[in-house]
Amino acid sequence: MNNYLLSIENLSVDYITDTEPVRAVNNISFGIHTGEIFGLVGESGSGKSTVVQAMMRILPPPGLISNGSVRINGEDILSASESNVKKFRWKQISIVMQSALNALNPVLSIREQISDVLKTHKDLVGIDAETRAKELLSLVDIDEDRLNSHPHQLSGGMKQRVVIAIALAIMPPIIIMDEPTTALDVIVEREILAKIIELRKKLNFTILFITHDLNLLLEFADRLAIMKNGRIVEIDDVENIKQGGQHSYTRKLIGSIPSASGSRQEGLLSKPDSLDFPTTPLIEIKNLRKTFQSPGLFNKNKLTAVDDISFKISEGEIVGLVGESGSGKSTIAKLVTRLIRPTSGTIYLNGENKQVTEARNVPLEYRKIVQMVFQDPFGSLNSIHTVYHHLSRPLLRHRLKSKDELFDYIIKMLETVGLSPGEKFADKFPHEMSGGERQRVAIARALSLKPQIIIADEPTSMLDVSIRMDILEIFARMRKENNLTILFITHDLASARYLADRIIVLKNGSIVEEGPSEDLIQSPSNEYTKQLVNAASPGWLETIHKNSDNKEIIDA
């Protein structure tokens, strides 16, 4: 066991509460060899971030390490005194935090943030620190002029690269990466990962990579540990896990990954009987435009979020609207649901030239026809009201059900979305349910009015991977059973192609490409779509990774 660079044995971490302590990490052990990329995968609440924080001993109370050891080159961090712990941090082991936005101090320049680390840990000041800082930035492909920039002047990807540069500042043998790409767009994410792989090749450090995204790790990790409820359920070489793994949970995780390559997985989702849709559209959006005026009397800055968008959706069709953050896709959702008013353009409903964009107050009838499912199930339900309240209000408002029928109908709706027995859920408050259960309630609320069209704004992106498929399945089934029309908004091309019949690709508020899902993914014509498809295809990173290994052999 001694040949591990980093070894963790029987680590247990508790959180002190007013009653019993909660065990977040339960007796886990693993070891990482020098030069390895070790992946730690787990869904939210599995304890993976707690492991990392405990390893560095940066977990603040009420966190308490109740047992275990963490050895780097045989030295135990957990038995080290307060001042000795500081010798481990950054010199032996450094960390790339989840959100670059929070990891960087907004009021300090990049230069100050890098030299801060150099001064604290290496006593490097003045011209030496300056040189080193420039070196570090060039390592991560950032121009050295950027030393004077403040974080808000950098893009998300650049910020993440600066954080990586800071982690590399004094070349620790081990770098922990805690979800380094989660907040980034797909294309940028791939760039960052490619950079990490390249740097590892060049500088030869060991990586502990923490993520919820098993898909990602399968492509470039050497070994994997899968965590669930504070325990490691499986730990194995990545090749073995790719074959399906031993544990049922591993298999469930692997099975829940939609893929953008190969043929569309037929039969997995409830398919409608025919994919020929009526030619008259249910909803038609024409020349829609939305500009946001910056606040202030004399401020003339305008931001065009949606620029001249037109598309049609037929009854029973599922259309995927794919775009990165800032592409205007959520603005379109708000425009179509009339949460905000368009600057210009019209929305026609039911082909009868009904201009719903004109009225200041949206007619109640429109609210019944067009419903929305929000991204964040933690935010879209009001924490002080029960499930019953959330489902009964729309029904009472639209006078669809009398008080006597209400309860039975709501129970039925809950069971339709997979919350059974419905009686058990009706009286629950949002905080008593898991994220997936909440999202089901939100879907049930949208469905309860029997709308004709549902706008689903990233309905799965805040959920754990293992339940995303189930949620997509509900949408597919609703379409099959009720001929429901769905506008499915997502940043994830793979899941859009999985659910949608047609995909619209959005960039900077304009449509760049539009077509049947299969055609668009197999043969994208637009350059941007090609990039997106590339980034969503598995094996993309693997190639880079393999290539870098090959070079190593050639070099050797």
Binding site: E9, R57, P61, P62, S69, L339, F374, H385
Partner: protein
């Protein structure tokens, strides 16, 4: 079944929280004691304005708190003064919160032109110097509790409206509000049923803050002689004590009982405010909690404590 269980649930959570919080509990006991005295006290005491003979006699068994410069019973004055002082104080608190919630809530929820106009009004009231305005209004209008109430509400509502407006603006863009709009809910119902209960802690502490302010300002105005000096309140008690040169004659009993009562009421309200803070923001309690449960020698700055190391 729905609306009742929900309300009882929020209030029960609060109630349980307050009961289990030492600060809030002590504060509640003190304030309930004063409210109790204010309501039933005046029925059991002799008239506070009756002339009893020897002025400025120190406390004795006959006159528990002694007599004042007019030969009136200080004990009776302290107790009957509670009624009007607390009534004006709490009524001002309620009115300030209602007006603040109404104006601030509407401004924050609707935004745009409506917000511009209402914000302008709020800002005007905010920059008006409160104390001089209070003094001028109180001396110009006919004295009495109604005048005091009006003056206090007029000078006190704007700050609350401002706070509630900004809170409303953050709620306005939450998904659960958008979801309610999409389901066709009326705006007024969204404000009252969906958003306002979420602001309960803000409204409660606004009420308590406004009540403390109202009691203080009211006593101050009356002390300056700007109230109705023929009524018996804590403020007029102090006014008369000062007029009868209580400090020069060293008759401390004429002002200490009243002053102490005012201090105790403000203290208890502040305690309740702390309690509400802790009940609605569990983070404030959690530190005290883990410090009790983790062995002290393990707690060090910036390093996670380790209970047992398996060497």
């Amino acid at each position: 079944m729905n609306s009742r269980t929900q309300n009882s649930n929020i209030f029960r959570r609060w109630f349980d929280g307050i009961l289990s919080n030492k600060k809030a509990l002590i504060g509640t006991y003190i304030i309930l004691f004063f409210i109790f005295i204010a309501i039933i006290g005046p029925f059991f005491i002799q008239s506070p304005t009756e002339f009893l003979g020897t002025p400025l006699t120190p406390p004795s068994t006959k006159n528990l708190f002694g007599t004042n410069g007019q030969g009136q019973d200080v004990f009776a004055q302290t107790i009957s003064g509670a009624r009007q002082t607390l009534f004006v104080g709490f009524t001002t608190g309620i009115l300030v919160v209602i007006i603040g919630a109404l104006i601030g809530g509407i401004a924050g929820f609707y935004g745009g032109r409506i917000d511009d106009i209402l914000s302008l009004i709020i800002n005007i009231f905010l920059v008006m110097p409160g104390l001089p305005l209070m003094v001028i209004l109180a001396s110009w209008l006919p004295p009495g509790p109604g005048t005091l109430l009006g003056v206090l509400v007029l000078t006190g509502w704007a700050w609350n409206a401002r706070v509630i407006r900004s809170q409303m603006m953050t709620f306005r863009n939450r998904d659960f509000v958008s979801a309610a709009i999409v389901s066709g809910e009326k705006n007024i119902r969204i404000i009252l049923v969906e958003i306002m209960p979420r602001m309960l802690s803000l409204l409660a502490s606004s009420f308590i803050g406004a009540s403390i302010y109202a009691i203080g300002a009211q006593v101050g105005l009356e002390f300056l002689g700007l109230g109705d000096i023929s009524t018996v309140t804590w403020g007029t008690n102090l006014y008369w004590a000062s007029n009868d040169l209580a400090l020069l004659t060293e008759s401390w009993w004429t002002f200490v009982p009243t002053g102490l009562s005012i201090a105790l009421v403000s203290f208890s309200l502040t305690l309740i405010n702390f309690g509400i803070d802790e009940v609605t923001n569990p983070r404030l309690i959690s530190e005290r909690l883990w410090r009790e449960k983790i062995p002290r020698n393990l707690i060090k700055d910036g390093v996670t404590p380790v209970l047992k190391n398996n060497e």
